[in-house]
Subunit: 178 residues, 2 copies
């Protein structure tokens, strides 16, 4: 569905395969949808200066071209607050084999306890956000997923006391237009 990024056969234009460029209308639309994707075309038409049908056409196009990856519901932070969230910073072995790393990555991505998994620069290599019902479940996760893994040299855990903000929205502006 979505092309791989940045294989720059053409320097500027290949943001997404089927999507030439994003014009200011697309930018406005994407920002609105990142805040509320259940807004009706009529409602969006009041914000974006387009007709409802033009809105729906563009949304359709943005989705088909893969600019919009998915549409999801976000549960209440209050609900999340009843659970346990942890930040896990992982240091890998310097000479870890790629095969072992691939297995680790795959296992982490497959686990629905893992909310985010980022490769980072610095003294640690991987950065996880982990969610669990309680400490027992987190310990089970750590024991089975992290402690035994041969590619992991060490890891450090910080527990989230309070989530003040969490979003995946990317703020776009005119400079993101093609």
């Amino acid at each position: 569905m979505l092309g791989e990024i940045g294989v720059a056969d053409t320097p500027e234009k290949c943001i997404v395969v089927a999507m030439k460029v994003l014009d200011p209308f697309d930018i406005a639309l994407l920002n609105a949808l990142q805040a509320d994707n259940r807004a009706t075309a009529d409602a969006l038409a009041r914000t974006v200066a387009l007709s409802p049908s033009a809105i729906t056409r563009r949304i359709r196009r943005l989705k088909d071209s893969g600019v919009i990856d998915r549409d999801v519901s976000v549960l209440s932070p209050a609900l999340a607050g009843r659970r346990l969230s942890a930040i896990v910073q992982i240091q890998l072995h310097d000479h870890a084999e790629e095969a072992g790393l691939a297995v680790l990555r795959q296992r982490l991505l497959a686990s629905n306890h893992v909310q985010s998994c980022l490769e980072v620069s610095g003294s640690f290599d991987l950065f996880l956000t982990v969610t669990a019902r309680d400490m027992a479940e987190f310990n089970a996760f750590a024991d089975t997923m992290l402690a035994k893994d041969a590619a992991i040299r060490r890891y450090e855990t910080s527990f989230v006391k309070k989530a003040l903000k969490q979003t995946l929205a990317i703020p776009l502006d005119a400079r993101d237009a093609g």
Copy 2:
């Protein structure tokens, strides 16, 4: 934006009041909607063993009661990959005044460069995920938001080399019912 757990100070925040319990149908619905909130009631009815009209009723109720906080579009990771993401770990001054902290928190939450802001245990106090168009914009953010702030003792930045996974989904199961 974020509700305190179980504290009903404002109508929108009191989650469990309007929502007595989540039964297994609600759990299944929430898991489905966290993956795809544009799924039609008919499609959901094939997964969840309920009629389409019952589905829409329940979704309506979950939204009104605040269990579902919001519905959003998530942009392509490929688009995000063109930008710069950073993890910023912040250590506050031991004797920082609450007033200064509140100002800092508010400024961080108001910035749309800040994707997540978490209070954590451990040697650092705050945990940020920051998105910026490029290094220049990130530096501008760090200079204006972090470097000058009196409440901040020090901060460490790790740059995201590759985002392998990012979601806000909370995996629910039968034990979350009741």
